[in-house]
């Protein structure tokens, strides 16, 4: 039986609150950016900030920082899969 050697990493309340404050700040930033950038270009900016926010949630709230390589690779593969589905569809949508 594979033995579980994952130490139960405990994330301190302080660190969690810090992440929360960062998330609130990024939320404010994304609202500000939306109101000061007219046009579709800022979609990428919003998405970038959203990726940053979700990165923080995954890393600290979901403990990914303290998990093994396997789980990180699997998450990466799942994201790549979704990206491929969207990307290949755009070979159709963009070139009609």
């Amino acid at each position: 039986m594979t033995h579980d050697t994952t130490a139960h990493h405990i994330v301190s309340y302080g660190r969690l609150v810090t992440v929360w404050l960062a998330l609130l700040a990024l939320t404010g930033l994304t609202v500000w950016v939306a109101h000061h950038n007219v046009g579709i270009g800022h979609v990428w900016g919003s998405l970038a900030i959203a990726c940053l926010k979700s990165g923080l949630v995954v890393t600290f709230f979901m403990h990914m920082k303290y998990e093994g390589r396997l789980l990180r690779w699997l998450l990466f593969m799942a994201l790549v899969t979704l990206a491929i589905f969207i990307g290949l569809t755009f070979f159709d949508v963009l070139y009609r």
Partner: protein
């Protein structure tokens, strides 16, 4: 559950629980595997009857003993039942459950209660699908692909049928999740990734496709219900929607789904051929790698179902190219199986006959897949019987025959009794003959221009249609002989020992039938799965 009790102290009776509730609420992967086997195979037989009905209608042009609406319903339900209620759940659910945990040296899967829940979801989903046939507007008539706009507008019971498929899909997801975790976490000491039987590798690759692709089916089915019930109009051009987007979403799942169908089948072949050739498999690493490569590359090619849909030329080019790429790992497997046979000591019992014919039939299906994958030739054969012939060669000649091989190879282990070899060979011969007559004719008809899913056809197609239908009867007779022989053997045949075939994988090292716990002590693995030296074979 059975009439003849096998040898004492096995999973059939060693927990002291033997009534029907002890089976349908069991968390033992072996009991769940048999539950899946009987339910999925039961639906296979329903699908066969529907298929025979279709072939009867098509035996001559102009027949009207079933009306056009009924005809549409019959081919739709034939597809839905065969694909969603037999092939996709069958191989992972039945043989994945029965065999994989023992092959990795585990006591059970990672989440046994989730495993039981998966089977119940399958049953509930199947019940919903069956209900949709007899209520409301009647059975769906859209084809199993539920294309918009027709599926959004038809008065038949699409929403309910689609809900049933959604439920079955959820079952598939949970099974995949369970199997990935099991293979990562529960391998016995010494069972390294490099010593896993190739059947386990194939189940692993399949499980990933189940986890990553099936959710897209889930959302697509929800979108059909939303179109019908809420009027969301996301695929309705009059309201800004794009029907081709439905096809993208549908095939993003349904193409990888065919790899859910074929990968476990290939895994069976990879396990059977070395045993019956008494030779270690040629190119173990390449076969294992190819399983993963097929799963990965197979997720990139869905657009080859859409060459005539109105998709962009760029997409056509990209998807056609990628389709050729995915043929490569499949071909690697075929070469490796054949190389395993070379200079082997081959014995032609039923499992091997089905496995060998798999190689031929799958190759024909695969090669015709290249004709379909090349965009230029696809235009000529899309939506003709050529496609019908192609996918029956891979799904029936491939997965179906592998399923029959697995039945003869493994079921005696779980029943403690075995079938008679001679009738099995006769049955195989009839099935192989009938199969080729039935489906090769279709490919010729398709090339000549006979469309699929049409209620009638031109008189010039009549002779080959007659031939094809006769082939279906020969196949059916062989199937009946096979089943009577197999089940008579399992319930009343000669007893078998723990290793009737001389296999070197762990399932042959446990008693026949296996005890509930599988192993008295957790095994320590010291050799590979195809090591037929004395030390290797238990």
């Amino acid at each position: 559950m059975t009439t003849a009790q096998p040898t004492p102290a096995s999973f059939w009776n060693d927990t002291g629980k033997t009534g029907i509730t002890s089976w349908i609420f069991s968390t033992d992967h072996k009991r769940i595997g048999l539950l899946y086997f009987y339910s999925t195979f039961g639906f296979f037989l329903v699908g066969v009857l529907l298929g025979l009905t279709l072939r009867l209608k098509l035996i001559a042009p102009g027949l009207t003993f079933i009306g056009p609406a009924t005809y549409n319903a019959v081919f739709t339900v034939h597809g839905v039942v065969m694909i969603f209620l037999f092939i996709i759940p069958g191989m992972p659910g039945a043989f994945g459950n029965l065999i994989m945990p023992i092959q990795i040296g585990a006591r059970d899967v990672a989440f046994p209660r989730l495993n039981l829940f998966s089977w119940w979801l399958y049953i509930i989903g199947a019940a919903i699908v069956l209900t949709s046939l007899f209520t409301g507007g009647g059975p769906p008539d859209t084809g199993w692909t539920f294309y918009v706009p027709f599926s959004a507008r038809t008065g038949t019971n699409v929403s309910l049928a689609v809900l049933g498929v959604f439920t079955v899909g959820f079952s598939s997801i949970l099974t995949g999740l369970n199997f990935v975790t099991t293979i990562h976490r529960l391998r016995a000491d010494g069972m390294t990734w490099g010593r896993l039987p190739l059947f386990v590798w194939s189940i692993y690759a399949t499980a990933w496709v189940q986890v990553l692709a099936t959710p897209i089916l889930g959302i697509t089915l929800v979108l059909i219900m939303a179109e019908r019930i809420l009027g969301t109009g996301l695929f309705d051009p009059a309201r800004g929607g794009d029907p081709i987007m439905y096809q993208h979403l549908f095939w993003i799942y349904s193409h990888p789904a065919v790899y859910i169908m074929i990968l476990p089948a290939m895994g069976v072949i990879s396990d059977v051929i070395p045993v019956f050739a008494r030779k270690p498999v040629f190119g173990y690493k390449m076969i294992a790698f190819s399983s993963l490569a097929i799963a990965a590359a197979g997720s990139l090619v869905w657009g080859h179902h859409m060459f005539t849909s109105g998709m962009s030329d760029t997409a056509i080019l990209v998807f056609s190219f990628l389709t050729f790429v995915v043929a490569i790992p499949s071909a690697i497997k075929v070469f490796n199986w054949v190389s395993t046979l070379y200079k082997g000591s081959i014995s032609l019992e039923a499992p091997m006959l089905f496995a060998l014919s798999f190689i031929l039939l799958f190759s024909i299906g695969g090669l015709t897949g290249l004709i379909l994958g090349a965009a230029a030739t696809n235009i000529h054969v899309h939506d003709t019987h050529f496609v019908v012939g192609h996918f029956h060669y891979v799904m029936f000649g491939g997965t179906g025959f592998a399923f029959f091989s697995a039945m003869h190879y493994w079921l005696p282990k779980f029943y403690g009794r075995t079938y008679a070899e001679k009738p099995a060979i006769v049955a195989w011969a009839l099935m192989f003959t009938g199969f080729n007559i039935l489906y090769f004719s279709m490919m010729v008809l398709g090339l000549k221009g006979m469309p699929r899913r049409y209620y009638n056809y031109l008189p010039e197609f009549a002779p080959l249609n007659l031939v094809s239908t006769i082939g279906s009867w020969i196949l059916a007779i062989g199937l009946v002989i096979m089943l009577v022989n197999l089940f008579r053997g399992l319930f009343r045949g000669e007893p078998v020992g723990s290793n009737p075939w001389g296999g070197a994988t762990l399932e042959w090292s446990v008693p026949t039938p296996p005890p509930t716990e599988n192993f008295e002590e957790e095994p320590v693995v010291t050799h590979g799965p195809y090591d037929y030296s004395k030390a290797g074979v238990p």
